[in-house]
């Protein structure tokens, strides 16, 4: 583990109508998997929301994150800040129309 290792947290609201359905989940997971850091996601809007692995498509679906829900994205690792920012950006922009432009 590098010295730069640190935990970074971002909270974002889901703006898009369909919420975290199949395609957005895939975009999120694809993006999260490009980083070395661990990514943990919680849907804070849901009472007792569980912590799920942001790199697991199946678990991300379990967040039941619909429009208006707030996601807490916690990253931990060498590229934690970059990961948290990129993922928060993706969610904020409603997963974009084009998956490629949204994952910059």
């Amino acid at each position: 583990m590098s010295d730069a290792e640190t935990t970074y947290v971002r909270e974002v609201e889901i703006p898009n109508k369909a919420g975290l359905h199949a395609r957005p989940v895939m975009q999120f997971v694809d993006l999260a998997s490009r980083f070395k850091s661990q990514v943990v996601v919680i849907n804070v809007t849901r009472a007792g929301g569980e912590r799920v692995d942001g790199k697991s498509a199946m678990q991300m679906m379990l967040l039941e994150a619909t429009k208006g829900c707030t996601l807490r994205i916690a990253t931990d690792g060498p590229d934690a800040q970059a990961a948290a920012d990129a993922l928060a950006e993706l969610v904020c922009h409603g997963f974009g129309v084009h998956p490629e432009s949204a994952s910059e």
Binding site: G19, A22, V29, K55, A57, Q59, L62
Partner: protein, 580 residues
């Protein structure tokens, strides 16, 4: 080596590599593995995931080309799930920590996710259950072996293992290299079992969970004669079974030699042995085995096909083909017996709480008069080609029989008006399959030309046992004293009324009951072509007084066990070399 006990549908031994038919729509029962098998089980999950990803990739590509990217994206999501390292490790943990089989662990994890999707409030997310199910099936298919589509492409003889087969799947076995079948589900008289029997290769059903004990590729012995299946047989067992396989082939050769001999008792009483068929091509097989006619043509199999109900002309040509192949021998055509465990495409999604007591058989026919009339017209038109009899199934009341007959007369009038000929001597009879009909047999005898006892349903309704339910099928036995007495009474009344009475259930083809049935006065038996040789051989060894004595004795017992023990010991004395 593991020995599993089931119910035999056809005797003989088949030895081959196992192919497991896809495990859709059923729960994978629990199975544990030994600790040293863990790495292999884990590998199977990984391989299944990777194979599924490749499969899905091809599918997505094709979809993308034909239906556009939205459709293809659906499968992209499936690929995403299959790549999910967390999901794989969940499954792996269960295999490692609890020593569960790959199939069971996979199924458990996937079912767990399905349950959680089900609890969600967002309908869009709940819909994802279908995807998770789809992924589960794909994985299980990959873990458990080959798929249905591959059966026709088999290049070497195999033994087929499945949870259950539909009648139409079973009917297609004839075109494959499958040499034997073993199923979790079913009882000796399910329609799948009936089809397996006419197919004539070794089969054992009611094995409960064989489809999860066998993964495909290993050696399996199906011993239909002793009602067992041996998985991974050891060397001595394999050698022994090879010898038995050869002996069975010799024996069936001997039985085939009986073809030219008459079915008469030692004291010269002729017994008519007819065959039961599902498809016209089977008439030739039956005649070749020595059948004196077709005692039961189960026409519903014409209706159980993806294209839906056959047209009048399609039916006409099937019936005509059967009648012509019978070459002047009588052909008894039973009108379609749909419902319960046999559904057409149109009705396949209707659920009934108790289908065996539901809208089935003649009830369904009388409520679908258009469909029924088309069939009756087709039968009448074909009847000019030979000695044809029409038989109505599952009659429970005189009104029902009268209504069915009236519909037949309507069809005759229509043909008359159109100037189309039919056989005016056509005989009209019924199957005796319900306790109600047995009790009112005297009244029925005044209205029918003939009676054919359908023991499968009769036993089921007399004993209140669903013959297809493996949890109670052990209670289903034709040896029950109540069954024997009802049979005796029905035959007696018919004889007094001078009405032809035959028997066409599975009981008719079982050596165990043959002597008894002759003893109570039955002279016409209809059975699967494969059983004719054996029954004929038995009949040629007995006399009528001997059979009568045996029947009298059998009727005196109080329990089914006493009856079957007695019949077994008597039959063994007469046919020592045959397994009974």
């Amino acid at each position: 080596m593991e020995i599993l006990r089931g119910i035999s549908v056809a005797t003989g031994v088949a030895i081959g590599e196992a192919v497991v038919l896809e495990a859709e729509q059923f729960r994978i029962p629990f199975r544990a593995v030994s600790a040293n098998a863990v790495p292999a089980e884990v590998d199977r999950v990984v391989l299944a995931c990777e194979a599924s990803i490749v499969e899905l990739g091809h599918q997505a590509e094709t979809l993308n080309a034909n239906w556009g990217s939205d459709a293809a994206n659906v499968f992209q999501w499936h690929i995403g799930i299959l790549k999910d390292a967390r999901l794989r490790s969940n499954i792996e943990t269960l295999i490692r920590d609890r020593l569960w089989s790959a199939a069971y662990a996979t199924s458990r994890v996937m079912r767990d996710y399905q349950r959680r999707f089900l609890q969600m409030k967002d309908p869009l997310l709940v819909e994802r259950i279908r995807d998770v199910q789809d992924i589960e099936r794909r994985l299980l298919r990959s873990i458990l072996g080959e798929t249905r589509e591959d059966l026709s492409k088999l290049t070497k003889p195999v033994v087929l293992i499945a949870h259950d087969l539909t009648p139409s799947q079973t009917a297609r076995l004839a075109d494959t290299k499958v040499i034997g079948v073993a199923l979790d589900a079913g009882a000796a008289t399910s329609h799948t079992a009936i089809l397996l029997r006419s197919w004539g290769k070794p089969g054992v059903v009611g094995l409960k969970d064989i489809s999860t004990r066998v993964s495909g590729g290993e050696w399996v012995v199906i011993d239909g004669t002793n009602q067992i299946v041996v998985t991974n047989p050891n060397e001595p067992a394999l050698l022994e079974y090879r010898a038995r396989e050869a002996a069975h082939i010799r024996l069936s050769g001997q039985l085939d030699e009986m073809r030219g001999l008459a079915a008469v008792t030692r004291d010269g009483v002729p017994i008519d042995l007819h065959c039961n068929i599902e498809f016209p091509y089977e008439v030739a097989i039956g005649v070749n085995k020595g059948a004196a006619g077709v005692g039961l043509y189960r026409t519903e199999f014409l209706f159980l096909r993806p294209e839906g109900a056959p047209s009048e002309d399609e039916q006409y040509s099937a019936y005509r083909e059967a009648i012509l192949s019978a070459g002047g021998r009588p052909v008894t055509i039973r009108t379609f017996d749909l419902g319960a465990d046999k559904y057409t495409q149109e009705r396949s999604y209707e659920q009934e709480r108790n289908p065996m007591l539901g809208l089935r058989s003649i009830r369904y026919s009388l409520q679908s008069l258009d469909l029924f009339k088309v069939q009756l017209r087709a039968i009448l038109r074909a009847s000019v080609e030979g000695d044809v009899r029409v038989m109505f199934p599952l009659i429970t009341s005189l009104m029902e029989f009268r209504q069915a007959k009236m519909t037949l007369h309507d069809a005759m009038e229509d043909l008359e008006e159109e100037g189309i000929p039919w056989n005016r001597d056509i005989k009209v009879g019924m199957m005796l399959e319900t306790p109600a009909a047995a009790i009112q047999i005297k009244e029925f005898c005044r209205e029918v030309d003939f009676i054919s006892i359908g023991t499968n349903d009769l036993v089921q309704y007399l004993l209140a046992v669903d013959r297809g339910n493996e949890r109670v099928s052990q209670f289903y036995t034709a040896s029950h004293p109540a069954v024997l007495r009802v049979l005796r009474d029905v035959v007696r009344v018919c004889k007094r009324a001078e009405v032809d009475c035959g028997i066409c259930g599975e009981m008719a083809g079982e050596p165990l009951y043959a002597i008894f049935l002759v003893g109570i006065g039955l002279r016409q038996f209809s059975m699967a072509p494969a059983n004719i040789g054996e029954i004929k051989k038995l009949i040629r060894l007995i006399t009528v007084p001997q059979a009568q004595r045996l029947a009298g004795r059998a009727l005196g017992f109080e329990t089914a066990r006493q009856v079957s023990n007695y019949l077994r010991s008597r039959t063994r004395k007469i046919l020592p070399e045959e397994p009974v």
